[in-house]
Amino acid sequence: MSARERIAGNVANYVDERTGAAAWMKKNLQKVFPDHWSFMLGEIALYSFVILLLSGTFLTFWFDPSMREVVYEGSYEPLKGLEMSAAYASALDISFEVRGGLLMRQIHHWSALIFMAAIVVHLLRVFFTGAFRKPREFNWIIGVGLLTLGIVEGFLGYSLPDDLLSGTGIRIAEAILQAIPLVGSYLSYFLFGGVFPGVTFIPRIYTLHILIIPGIFLALITVHLMLVWYQKHTQYPGPGRTEKNVVGYPLMPVYMAKAGGFFFIVFGVTAFLGAVASINPIWLYGPYTPGQISAGSQPDWYMGWLDGLVRMAPPIEPVIFGYTLSLNILIPGLIIPGILFTGMALYPFIEQWITGDKREHHLLDRPRNAPNRTALGAMALTFMLIALINGGNDLIATNFDLSINQIMWFSRIGIIVLPPIAFIVTKRLCLSLQRADRELVLHGRETGRLVMMPSGEFVEVHEPISPEKAWLLTQHEQNAPLQLEEKDARGVRRPGLLKSKLRKRFAIAHAEQVAKPTVEDLKEIEHH
């Protein structure tokens, strides 16, 4: 034993005797995680969050969240001498006077965009592979909560500099708030401390943005990760992988190195974007004045779908008992997002209700083997994508020489017609892929080699696939739809018949599959 090893051993022993950490560490550092690129999407979000904390802390050193009127005397000539809020002036100072300030601002903002994008792709991975199934329903709900919180946090963040674009965004948020029947105007007064824009809003959202919401974030992320730790990570199906084991590499040293390295890669890509590409050039927008507005005022992408929905809403504003009801804002701004996010949060329970499956699942589904769920996801994505595209309708109109009205009508009709079409097409695609899998197992791989038989017939040579592949293609369960008796054992009709009927229909639709090849099928083929 070398001297260095002895010293290290002594230090470790000293700590262990006082904390008893060794046993815990040994157990947990050897924890095994499965390996797949799609399991790193959530990591991108996590690392972006760390980058956001670091760069955000830097920005707080100089940002002054105050609506005090100041005269700009900084080095950006086109704004010199203008009256503006201290918030905007200090954001300009971060950009132009603070060393490395602009880079940090841009890293912070790019990181926020990457954070949200990574959350979305992570969510899609979890959804399409069925990773939200029991016992992970709570973690799914926490994830939906993090997504929602991210949207709010991002919006508050780019609202802080008090430039023309951010002020426009706050104005729209105020409009959505005011559209709430009965309490809308009170809520607005409450939040803005009086009439828009007032002087209290920016300081208030600053506290929310840098303290409250990051705190909630930290707590939720911790629970999110602890649940992953405790429930163990899901894995893709494959030979040797069961519902009872996890096949992969230990945390130490493989994932420590990998995850640590990946953190720096994420930081690198974010810093690269921050260094080469301008984001939120607040000095071009100018200070916010309620009387000004710019063409092409858009929110950041994660709010773009919301803007798109508002942009396509028909102008319905009925007056009821002398009060205007702004349905044109209320429906796209609150009701539809509410339905979407509630539905998303409850989806694990909805699927459970449809399938009646109360078992735990640690093996992931291949999306094609859950056609109904995959189709549902494609349908939701189509809806969101059309809304998002309509959010940029003015830029699409000018760049592709189209009429903004045509795009609006395309979106209005498309958002109703296209999602169901996406559902049907995706479901058919999944079933076709299942059929292709079945063919592959039964008849093997097409080699592309043509053989001419003595009779003159041409035959393509098929090669049998490997047992591992065959296992992968046939390992999934194919459950029959949930059987619901209309009458119980005593011949009494179950209550809530309509609900049961609906459940039955959903169950049948959900269980629609192309039968996977059985051993008998294979034997019969081999017989020929």
Binding site: D35, M40, P78, V121, F262, V266, L284, S294, W301, T398
Partner: protein, 263 residues
């Protein structure tokens, strides 16, 4: 004098005299030439109007009518003034290439002289806004950049975007980018209100304020790409596009690569 006359038969006299004579002729032409750019004489104006009318009959009358009285598809030009003609024709908007939603900026078909003639002809039909002179357009001297920015954001940005990059209007119409437009044409656009644009009279925006706006636009053209590639200066849409393509593309690509290496 006597001493000078002594050299009158010197051999350098002839070349020297030639040089003086040439200089004299040159100067005379210079002065005479300069005189032609000063305000037109009545005769010259008449000639220009005649020429302009001819161009008008050839190139414009099929839509705007033989007497510029307008028609089913084009407005009357009586009273629109020289400034309107200069803006529409010198920026290539008129004559239109086709009957699309609105006339777009393109390489002008007529040269400066022809534009001036056309302007003179249309101005002769009825009084209207005139082409601002060089002296009126000294925006570097008379404009104020920060004020121009505020005025631009208050009056122009709602259609032309915060950085003057243009934006969409209804039914396929659009507010064009104001980048790379000659100051005189910006000024003319403000006083004549071409196509969907409103007129900004001298009561709405004083001439000095107009010059401030021009000064700000010219500064925006030269604005360096602070913070990296400007991404078109159209707001968050291109930023979102970049993050989903390059940003997330790179990161997922690397994730796939990392997972593949582990095998």
């Amino acid at each position: 004098m006597r001493s000078l006359s002594r050299y009158r038969r010197h051999r350098a006299v002839a070349p020297l005299l030639l040089i003086f004579a040439l200089l004299g002729i040159g100067t005379t032409f210079q002065v005479a030439g300069a005189a032609t750019t000063s305000p037109m004489t009545a005769e010259e104006r008449t000639a220009a109007i005649e020429e302009g009318k001819e161009i008008f009959l050839r190139g414009c009358s099929s839509c705007h009518g033989l007497n510029a009285e307008g028609g089913a598809i084009a407005p009357s030009l009586i009273g629109v003034g020289a400034a309107s003609v200069d803006f529409q024709v010198a920026t290539g908007r008129m004559p239109m290439a086709d009957m699309s939603q609105q006339a777009m900026r393109k390489t002008p078909i007529y040269n400066d002289e022809e534009v001036a003639a056309l302007a003179a002809y249309v101005a002769s039909l009825a009084p209207g806004p005139e082409i601002p002179s060089e002296e009126m357009l000294n925006y570097e001297r008379d404009g104020e950049i920060a004020e121009g920015g505020e005025l631009f954001r208050t009056n122009c940005a709602m259609c032309h975007n915060f950085a003057g990059q243009g934006g969409a209007l209804t039914q396929g119409k659009y507010a064009p980018s104001v980048m790379g437009v000659k100051p005189v044409h910006i000024y003319e656009a403000m006083i004549t209100g071409p196509q969907s644009m409103p007129v900004f009279s001298d009561k709405t925006l004083t001439p000095k304020e107009k010059l401030s706006i021009i000064k700000w636009i010219k500064a925006a053209e030269k604005e360096p790409q602070l913070g990296g590639v400007a991404l078109g200066r159209v707001g968050p849409v291109t930023e979102g596009l970049l993050v989903w393509t390059l940003g997330l593309g790179l990161l997922i690509g690397i994730a796939v690569w990392l997972a593949a290496k582990a095998k």
